[in-house]
């Protein structure tokens, strides 16, 4: 009896640990699903946790039984234990799991299911780059709207993400919405996500991809369906014109410092200088984003100044040099200009 009590206590400890884990903030937790595919995976995770804990508890109980009451085990033939515990039990459990997986597994293929119902998913292209995410929204007229490190989606609609990489293997993972999908050089992989309610959840690269793999994260922002088109329209517009002398100074510094050789700011063109670079993220609406440096820093004039002048301390090894040769006033003007690009 002592053995069984110990087993139950252990199972209880494991279950409470798992419960404690679900209490985490939830913006990036498998056990706090925010969409239909996430729901299936969370349910499946719980089944495995609880089933695994029960089997572990049973095994420990038998172990304790054998340890503390050896005289009571005398009559049990070992072959019986092997046939029932080692063969029959795993066959039954694994068969049941296979049947369950086959029954619910198809539910996570949101793209196929939507098409079977005659609904075409929204399409978004995501290109993995060391160490950020380029995000493109192809439009019906053949144009695209470009942004970075944030995937905006209409709530309640399936969104098919076409995943490519321009360097090494990355992996796209939004734990609240779906499983992982790798980004493989030379291939386009697809995963369809859906977020049920408006809100923001976090995702990150889940395949080690070099020095700043840890800081290669992103946000998924779900808008109410009727506001999504307005968001696309706003992102489609060229960059805002600088409205004050300080912002003009910031824009001039942007062009003079060569920021445009790596970053595009649509609509920004002055003399021979252009801002049409494609090496770094498109900054046309950088001021409207939630974060900087692939969810490394919050957005704002302070973090922008720090990032421009010290990106190599914040994210060592990233492709952007620290621009600390700018004088103080120019640096803050440049940061103010970028912040104004809403």
């Amino acid at each position: 009896m002592r053995g069984r009590a110990a087993g139950v206590a252990k199972a209880f400890a494991i279950v409470s640990l798992v419960l404690a884990m679900t209490a985490c903030s939830g913006e990036q937790a498998v056990l706090a699903p925010r969409g239909p595919a996430g729901d299936v995976l969370a349910r499946f995770s719980w089944l495995l946790f609880i089933g695994g804990a029960a089997i572990f508890a049973g095994t420990m109980a038998m172990f304790a039984f054998g340890l503390f009451m050896p005289e009571r085990t005398k009559g049990i033939p070992p072959i019986k234990l092997i046939v029932f515990g080692g063969v029959a039990f795993p066959v039954v459990v694994l068969t049941a799991l296979s049947v369950y997986t086959a029954a619910v597994g198809g539910k996570v293929d949101l793209g196929r299911n939507a098409r079977a119902e005659g609904r075409e998913p929204v399409r978004v292209n995501v290109d993995g780059v060391m160490w950020w995410w380029e995000v493109e929204y192809p439009q019906a007229d053949g144009s695209t709207v470009k942004s970075a490190n944030e995937i905006h989606v209409p709530a309640g609609r399936p969104v098919e993400i076409h995943l490519t990489t321009r360097d090494v293997i990355h992996s796209f993972w939004v734990p609240t919405l779906h499983g992982k999908m790798d980004l493989i050089p030379g291939r386009t992989n697809r995963i369809t996500i859906q977020m049920d309610e408006p809100g923001v959840v976090r995702g990150q690269c889940a395949e080690f991809c070099g020095l700043q793999h840890t800081l290669m994260s992103f946000w998924v922002v779900a808008h109410p369906p009727d506001e999504f088109d307005a968001w696309i329209e706003a992102q489609r517009r060229p960059a805002a014109e600088p409205a004050t002398p300080e912002l003009v100074r910031g824009r001039d510094a942007f062009l003079a410092s060569g920021c445009g050789s790596c970053h595009q700011v649509r609509g920004l063109e002055e003399g021979a200088s252009k801002a049409g670079g494609a090496i770094g993220p498109d900054l046309t609406h950088i001021g409207s984003r939630l974060s900087l440096g692939a969810a490394t820093l919050p957005n704002g004039i302070g973090p922008l100044s720090g990032w421009i002048a010290g990106s190599q301390q914040i994210k060592p090894g990233n492709r952007m040099p620290s621009y600390h040769h700018l004088d103080g006033e120019t640096l803050t003007a440049l940061a103010a200009y970028l912040e104004s690009l809403k």
């Binding site: 919050p298 704002g300 004039i301 302070g302 720090g306 002048a309 006033e329 803050t332 940061a335 103010a336």
Partner: protein, 130 residues
């Protein structure tokens, strides 16, 4: 019960005489500032302080754009020009451009209240690097 001289307390008093505490300046305190709340403001990094400064006790605060903020509770001057006093510290955090128009430190939009809490936290930093 017979009265006994409080030897232990006397010894402690004597020990205090030999300590550095006698020569160190009195701790700078900020009226109304809560160091723990200042720590939360710095941790959240909404104003980006940690992007430019090394700040002891704040995760990820290892920027080298501005000066490190260790021992801020003991330093003589702020921004190289104002005596290190709470009201100057709060003013500098909230409105650095009004003190030095050429500074690389931006007006981050931090509120007076949050600046007060941040100052309270910075004054807890009293370890001199050796």
């Amino acid at each position: 019960m017979a009265m006994r001289p409080p030897y232990a307390a006397l010894l402690l008093l004597l020990a205090a005489c030999g300590d550095d505490e006698m020569s160190a300046p009195a701790p700078l305190t900020v009226t109304g500032g809560v160091a723990e709340r200042g720590r939360s403001v710095l941790e959240a990094n909404r104003y980006g302080c940690a992007a430019c400064h090394v700040i002891p006790g704040i995760a990820g605060a290892r920027g080298l754009v501005g000066p490190p903020l260790n021992a801020m509770g003991l330093r003589g001057y702020i921004a190289g020009r104002m005596p290190n006093k709470p009201e100057n510290m709060i003013h500098w955090i909230a409105h650095p451009r009004s003190v030095d128009p050429q500074t690389a430190m931006p007006e981050t939009g931090i509120s007076e209240d949050d600046a007060r809490h941040v100052a309270a936290y910075l004054y807890t930093l009293r370890t001199v690097p050796r």
